[in-house]
């Protein structure tokens, strides 16, 4: 299994919003909720709008699930599982992500569906 990839520093993230990173040649949208010190990583491709735009969507929660709303057609995707709330048949890959010594690290080999999320920061 590949090691975790160092992506950027926590300061590069946008609080309560998203950025996109290139990890293992994949476009990874990274969302940051500083109050919960939570980070999430989803593939940046919106399969419904068919464009690499999810990092530019609004985030928040719906029925207690953390979500991003696609900026194109506003469908919501669960930030932990990638499942689309409006159409459960649509899922985007969700990757493992963690904050380690103020660095943001992503592991695209681990889908979060497989493991419990390790978002505990060492801050």
């Amino acid at each position: 299994m590949t090691p975790w990839v160092d992506v950027c520093s926590v300061d590069d993230l946008q609080p309560d919003s998203g950025v996109c990173a290139l990890v293992d040649n994949l476009q990874v949208a990274i969302f940051y909720m500083p109050r919960e010190s939570a980070v999430y990583a989803l593939n940046n491709y919106d399969p419904i709008g068919k464009a690499n735009v999810l990092s530019r969507g609004l985030i928040g929660d719906i029925n207690g699930q953390p979500v991003v709303a696609s900026p194109l057609y506003k469908q919501h995707f669960n930030l932990q599982t990638g499942v689309c709330l409006e159409d459960e048949a649509v899922t985007i890959p969700a990757y493992a992500i963690r904050i380690h010594n103020d660095r943001v690290e992503v592991n695209t080999r681990i889908m979060t569906a497989d493991i419990a999320m390790d978002t505990t920061s060492s801050r």
């Binding site: 609080p15 919003s17 996109c20 476009q27 709008g49 464009a51 690499n52 735009v53 530019r56 609004l58």
Partner: protein, 847 residues
């Protein structure tokens, strides 16, 4: 632990998959080890919406299988492998690839195949059918090299196929053996009406035609010769002459099949071998093959119930074949006994040649019950009629009232209250009114929640209006007031939030959430609060604490386009622009190779900018003297003008001058929705001011002010608000009007809808704005003055702040651009490549 039995399902089509979904949701799933054979190269997909493949839906999107479904439920699926024989003694299934599996229970869901009449030449090139995704791909490639297409068969599916051929750009013909279209569903008059309508759409219809030979064409690939001696040249022939059940595998192992095909089943969907079930289009129940999904789904449910131990209610007792659809934009519906075959049936018909509407009611001898109906051209009564028919509801005294056009005050619609609890609301998922009411009682008070809970309206969608009316009437009965909360995070309306922010001087979303909300917020409340904060405090919207509140358009100060690139719209006040400014705009467009277009709002839009290019483009535009046009914001868009008295021989006043002044005054104002103005120089109204939120028209005696007009989805003519105003009064009124709107409107409510929902309407608005009935006018003016005084060009502020520019990159950790953005050239400019072009065409290099 009991040993699991093996359950084998042959066929993974719509019904086979529906069976698996039902089975895995049922407690008895644990009793079985499930294996399924899927002859096609992909698991089940939605054939009902197959035609949408031509509109760009991918095989992936048509899929009916949730990702991970088979793995999650431990189902073994053999994709691309056909079950070829069944040995009933040994209880085994053998596949084409040689797999042999022992079964305890077997379900046949092999569907049907399109019937191709055995006309000589039927197997020539480009002679196709319409059933699988592969068939559609074959049609697409045949259409590419051809000009003419013929559909053989004028039934439901044939007409749908004809639409597909037409959309593929072919000259389209429909050849039908019967004397009319849709012979199964429509009577003669209905069929004739449909034919006229379809022909008017440019499809040639040939009825009563018997094809005797297909051979080489002279100009086209094929030539069809008909029994009456006529001929028709065509490149593509699509057979849609009915379906035949796929019963070979059952026939070969000695199961009972019908004389004209179909695997015979009983009310439990069992075949003549009690270990074997058959469901869907391969099954013959009571002498009937059902060519629709809903009955197949009902059979699937029955089998799951029977496996679970035979609940007595679990039987298939036939299904309703009523259909309603839009064929090439023509509404067609048929209910029950459309042909009046029932003994003693009486018929009412209504025909309106002028508006091309045909309706027919079939009622019982005593005129009490509705037996059937046919509707062409106007199927709006379908839901009501279907309920009468299915639920045996007593007809009104004069049944023809149900098909006569409604006269002013009489309403013949069947209210949802008239339906018995057993009435089926959704036939795709067999959801009764009772189930809907229970779900509502359990707390589903929105259509979304009801859909998720009951699945109603998630199939063909045809029942959605009925579902909504049942929901509304139940909610009203249970004394629910309609929930006006903005979303789950705030139990307030937008106006409440506005007042809280104003009275408590709240400056950030987090502060508001902490005091008055819960959770983390969402894409509804965040932008709404962002907009209120912006209109009240007029802070820079990209301040860190506001950034996460904005829609992407606001965050990047540009409008996102379908491919993730952005458009750039600089302000061109009043539509006035000097040649130098035009040149400067042209230079920027050229340098960054942007697509340029004149908008409907009298300015220029530059499309195709990547996110990383935006600051560079704006730096140049600002240097040339442009500023943000706020095309991205819910804010003032444009003030259109006509040329006015300066040049126009009829002009009464300087409309351009006033338009520029107004646009500069209100630019940047954040509001519940976008706001548009126009100023015309005389009553000829070339600026279309009466279609705007604020419209001004010059008259000899001063300016006339119009408000609350709207173009767009639901146009509304503006109302005359005040006449013969001098400029100072005009501006005062507009200040007050806009401030009041910003304060009190709902989110995403244009001024037109705002006013229409306002108690007292126009008169009330006048009393507030002109007579100051609420004593608010001073405040409203001050509020506007604050916004005007604190205006800044958001783009200028952004390019001057290095820290804000960090966001304008596609990747946080790389300078690469998004490789999914590909342009091709059209009419000398770029446009986003479509999916096929992405693969085949060379890309246009972009600066």
């Amino acid at each position: 632990m009991t040993v699991k039995q093996t359950l084998v399902v042959i066929g993974n089509g719509m019904v086979g998959q529906n069976f698996l979904t039902n089975l895995t949701a049922s407690p008895i799933k644990d009793a079985f080890h499930i294996v399924t054979f899927c002859e096609e190269s992909r698991p089940a997909y939605d054939r009902v919406h197959l035609s949408e493949f031509f509109a760009g839906k991918t095989a992936q999107e048509l899929s009916l299988v949730e990702p991970g479904f088979f793995e999650q439920h431990d189902i073994t699926i053999h994709i691309g492998d056909k079950a070829s024989t069944i040995d009933r003694d040994a209880q085994t299934v053998t596949s084409a690839k040689g797999i042999v599996i022992h079964y305890d229970k077997l379900v046949l869901a092999t569907g049907s195949y399109p019937f191709v009449p055995p006309v000589p030449g039927h197997d020539r090139p480009n002679c196709l059918v319409y059933r699988t995704i592969e068939d559609l791909e074959a049609m697409q490639s045949a259409a590419q090299s051809g000009k003419i297409g013929v559909v053989v068969g004028g039934g439901l599916l044939g007409l749908e196929a004809a639409k597909a051929l037409k959309d593929l750009g072919l000259e389209t013909h429909v050849v039908e053996f019967a004397p009319r279209l849709m012979a199964v569903q429509l009577d003669e008059a209905g069929g004739a009406m449909l034919r006229r309508k379809i022909e008017a759409l440019g499809v040639t219809v040939h009825t009563g035609k018997n094809t005797s030979l297909i051979t080489d064409g002279a100009d086209c690939v094929n030539k069809m010769c008909f029994a009456d001696g006529e001929e028709l040249e065509t490149d593509l022939i699509l057979f849609s002459a009915g379906i035949r059940p796929r019963d070979d595998i059952a026939r070969d192992c000695g199961l009972e099949v019908g004389a004209r095909g179909g695997i015979v089943i009983d009310n439990q969907c069992r075949t003549s071998d009690k270990r074997i079930y058959a469901i869907g289009e391969c099954a013959l129940w009571n002498g009937m093959i059902y060519g629709l999904v809903a009955p197949g789904y009902a059979m699937a449910r029955t089998v799951v119930a029977d496996l679970a131990g035979g609940h007595p209610a679990a039987s298939f007792t036939g299904a309703d074949m009523s259909t309603k659809l839009k064929l090439m934009g023509v509404d067609v519906a048929s209910i029950g006994d459309a042909h009046a075959k029932t003994q003693g049936a009486m018929v009412y018909t209504y025909q309106n040649g002028a508006s091309e509407v045909y309706k027919r009611l079939v009622v019982s001898q005593d005129k009490k019950l509705l037996l059937g109906a046919v509707l062409v051209g106007d199927a709006s009564g379908y839901g009501t009629l279907l309920q009468y028919c299915l639920n045996g509801i007593d007809l009104p005294e004069n049944p023809d009232a149900l098909i006569l056009p409604a006269r002013s005050d009489e309403s013949v619609g069947l209210g949802p209250d008239a339906l018995p609890m057993s009435a089926q609301i959704c036939s795709c998922y067999d959801v009764t009114k009772d189930a809907v009411c229970q779900a509502i009682e359990a707390g589903c008070t929105t259509i979304g929640a009801l859909k998720a809970q009951t699945k109603a309206a998630t199939g063909c969608g045809g029942c959605a209006p009925l579902l909504k009316s049942v929901m509304n009437s139940e909610l009203a009965k249970q004394g629910f007031t309609v929930n006006t909360d903005i979303c789950e995070h705030f139990a307030y309306t937008r106006q409440d939030l506005y007042n809280l922010i104003m009275v408590e001087e709240i400056k950030t979303f987090d502060a508001l959430l902490e005091k008055h909300g819960k959770g983390r917020g969402c894409d509804i409340c965040k932008p709404a609060v962002g907009s209120i904060l912006a209109s009240y405090w007029n802070d820079y919207i990209l301040k860190t604490e506001h950034l996460g509140l904005q829609d992407t358009n606001d965050t990047f100060l540009a409008n996102m386009q379908k491919d993730g690139t952005y458009s750039v719209v600089p302000r061109i006040t009043g539509g006035e622009i000097s040649p130098d400014m035009l040149i400067a705009l042209g230079q920027v467009g050229k340098k960054y190779k942007l697509y340029t277009k004149i908008t409907g709002g009298q300015r220029v839009d530059l499309f195709g900018a990547r996110v990383d290019q935006l600051p560079h483009i704006w730096k140049e535009l600002i240097a040339a003297g442009f500023e943000s046009g706020h095309a991205y914001g819910k804010s003032l868009r444009t003030v259109k003008s006509c040329v006015g008295s300066t040049w126009c021989r009829y002009g009464v006043d300087d409309s351009v001058g006033l338009a520029i002044e107004l646009e500069n005054r209100y630019k940047g104002l954040r509001s519940p929705h976008k706001i548009k103005f126009a100023v015309s120089g005389c009553t000829r109204e070339c600026a279309e001011a009466q279609g705007k939120d604020v419209g001004v028209i010059a008259t000899e005696s001063g300016w006339n002010l119009y408000v609350c007009g709207n173009g767009g989805m639901k146009p509304r003519h503006a109302d005359l608000f005040a006449t013969s105003l001098d400029k100072a009064t005009l501006i005062k009124y507009i200040d007050r009007f806009l401030s009041f709107y910003v304060r009190t409107a709902d989110r995403l409510q244009r001024t037109s809808v705002w006013m229409e929902n306002m108690e007292g309407g126009l008169d009330y608005l006048k009393s507030v704005i002109i007579e100051d009935k609420l004593g608010l006018c001073g405040q409203l003016e001050l509020q506007m003055q604050h916004v005007i005084d604190t205006y800044q060009c958001e783009w200028k502020a952004t390019i001057e702040d290095e820290s804000k520019l960090k966001r304008f990159r596609h990747f946080i950790n790389s300078d690469q651009a998004d490789d999914n953005v590909v342009f091709v050239e059209e009419r000398g400019q770029i446009r986003p490549a479509d999916e096929t072009e992405r693969k085949h065409f060379t890309m246009v290099e972009v600066a």
